[in-house]
Symmetry: C2
Subunit: 196 residues, 2 copies
């Protein structure tokens, strides 16, 4: 096995953990399974991280970051407010449909993090970064189309996140794409009513 600096190994381990967890679920993501994914021995995991929990902390951070980046990248700036908002939702939806297991993983990580006091702050952090990402998108739209929002953007962001989370979670269960898109469009229309 090639010799790799510890910092790089750490990043590799985080990526491997994400891949395993996405593919096989958080419960199946053991230290052995992660090491196996990289073809290295288990000892390295604890050479690079104090504990498995510390690794998972890093996983949450990396995912939260990547999620916001992916969401913003998926959004094609349209001309007017209406198409911008629509594109934002549909771009997000494209991401969900392309990576359903990754979405499921975020919910697994959230519930895991919420289950004990030490990791709870991570769940808050994850949510804060999601909200910040949505606020940024709202600001983008505002800047690009010259519109204003009737409601405070942080409240708007919270509502948007609730919608996307709720629709995604529901779709993961019933896989009814048509209804999910229909819901998103209806919510997009309602959001538009708050632009001026």
């Amino acid at each position: 096995m090639p010799r790799v600096p510890a910092d790089e190994r750490r990043a590799d381990l985080v990526q491997a953990a994400i891949q395993v967890a996405t593919r096989e679920g958080l419960a199946a993501t053991t230290t052995r399974r992660i090491a196996q994914e990289l073809g290295i021995s288990v000892g390295i995991v604890h050479y690079c991280f104090r504990s498995k929990e510390e690794l998972l902390h890093e996983v949450i951070r990396v995912i939260a970051e990547a999620q916001v980046v992916a969401a913003r990248a998926a959004i094609v700036p349209g001309g007017d407010v209406a198409t911008s908002v629509r594109n934002a939702f549909l771009g997000f939806w494209q991401l969900v449909e392309a990576t359903p297991q990754a979405q499921l993983l975020t919910y697994e990580l959230t519930t895991w993090a919420l289950r004990n006091a030490e990791t709870e702050p991570l769940a808050k952090e994850q949510r804060a970064s999601q909200l910040a990402g949505i606020e940024a998108i709202l600001a983008d739209i505002s800047a690009a189309t010259g519109c204003e929002w009737k409601v405070a953007t942080d409240q708007l962001a919270r509502m948007t996140l609730a919608i996307t989370d709720g629709v995604t979670l529901g779709w993961l269960a019933d896989r009814d794409t048509a209804s999910a898109v229909q819901s998103l469009e209806a919510f997009a229309d309602q959001l538009l009513a708050l632009a001026v």
Copy 2:
């Protein structure tokens, strides 16, 4: 230990599993822990259920049922459409605030069920019963106030469930009650715009 008919034992075990899972999380809900909760030996679990998974199936069913009942019970019928819808959301919210860990458990069960093919139908079933419950509430409101819905009630139910799920999940992380209620009220207003 008192002697109890098997059917009753089964029900006891399901309740014990729910209590443990609610309090300590699904991951901590082992057969030993469940048996300990009732003060009985582990063997009984496998005497009453073919496997732990079969027990969890039952847990999902019982919870899905109880959830809908609790949600409907929490709703105080008001006079006009506006107060009815508002009460429905606030009644639901009262339930969430009173039993946050129980809500968390439903998300844990959903993600767990979605992670393998055999249990996936359970997640669909759980969701279907939630949607049916919400549709029933919408019908109640319609009947009590004589209003009609501009949009198909199944679509309305999906949107409502998305909202409540999304807001709940977010609140579990940040515990920002004021913002959560504000979101629910905003959504309630938008729902009202669809009543005629």
